[in-house]
Symmetry: C2
Subunit: 204 residues, 2 copies
């Protein structure tokens, strides 16, 4: 009898419901203003019930973080068809920044938030992130091999590019550009992009 399987399924559904609800509340009230109690109330369970599905709050956040990486990686894979690695790199940059600014909660958990880092090490589960990182790295490597980027150190170039896009995204998301008007930020952002692209790519 398949009651075992059904229960397993129900457990997964409950986990998903909790994660979904948590994410919704995060978006509404900001990540740090969402309590276990609030999540419990929203799904009409007692706070304690949540602990049958997640070891602690960090695990809920970690689940969302992993979900975010799924989304990002899926976006990256949508570039599979682009043959020219420079074009691919440019598109990936835009895609990355867009993802960051349109999914601030996800992005924050994935690349900025503090508690997460411990969970990542504890679980050795930066796998999700590594997959995305390698996708970028491979593209950079193609650029180098095909003579578009004049630098042999793949990791250094990859880290530079990652740092560049992450840095801008993080400054914006964490309110360090709040003094600038929104449209100015947008303009500057695309200006910075052009600057980077123009100078780092060797025109063959």
């Amino acid at each position: 009898m398949g009651t075992e399987e059904r229960k397993e399924r129900e457990k997964m559904e409950m986990r998903q419901l909790i994660v979904k609800t948590a994410l919704k509340l995060f978006a509404e009230n900001g990540i740090e203003n969402v309590s276990i109690r609030a999540i419990a109330e929203k799904i009409e369970y007692s706070p304690g019930a949540i602990y049958s599905y997640f070891k602690d709050k960090g695990e809920i956040i970690h689940a969302i973080h992993t979900e975010g990486f799924e989304k990002l990686y899926a976006l990256q894979r949508s570039l599979d068809g682009i043959k020219n690695p420079v074009d691919k790199l440019g598109q990936m940059g835009k895609l990355y920044i867009n993802f960051a600014l349109e999914n601030k909660d996800y992005y924050d958990l994935m690349f900025i938030a503090k508690g997460i880092a411990e969970k990542i090490n504890e679980k050795k589960e930066w796998d999700a992130g590594e997959r995305s990182y390698n996708y970028l790295r491979d593209t950079v490597n193609d650029c180098i091999e095909q003579g578009y980027i004049n630098d042999k150190n793949v990791d250094a170039v990859t880290f530079a590019i990652w740092g560049f896009v992450h840095g801008m995204a993080a400054l914006i998301i964490r309110g360090r550009c709040a003094m600038m008007p929104d449209e100015f930020i947008q303009q500057t952002l695309s200006g910075s992009f052009n600057f980077f692209k123009t100078h780092l790519i060797t025109n063959k």
Copy 2:
């Protein structure tokens, strides 16, 4: 009689003691693991006493944040003597990263931490940050005017450079490079620097 002045002085000293103690505890236990109660105990006062000197915990953190900007700006000003703006820019980059990695607590509060952003807006006191930003911007401007950087958009270039160094620092500080061995990070970091420097500066 100077009792008014003395009291004012004592109040300042107490504020400073609280800030100094908070910073020390931050360094020892991590920013998020320091409570008002812990600070109070360390200086041998009751928790409530602290509220005679700071409106709330955020104000203590904000004071440290401002102190951090004093330190960073002082470091920047040590480059005043460098005539060539490209050299100056390079030195500033190194100096910035070093500051970030050697003063992670300060840097975190200044450029990454969340609560701070609200205080900054609330107080309109990004002045401290703006001074440092303008110092960078002026140097970038010199580079452009003297033909070392081939791009007319000062703000875009400045933001790109800031994003670049901040991005790398933030990824390291927030543990997103924890899977890489330390020496690899150091190598990659300087490699990224070279990459950036080599390609963005037009050799006259």
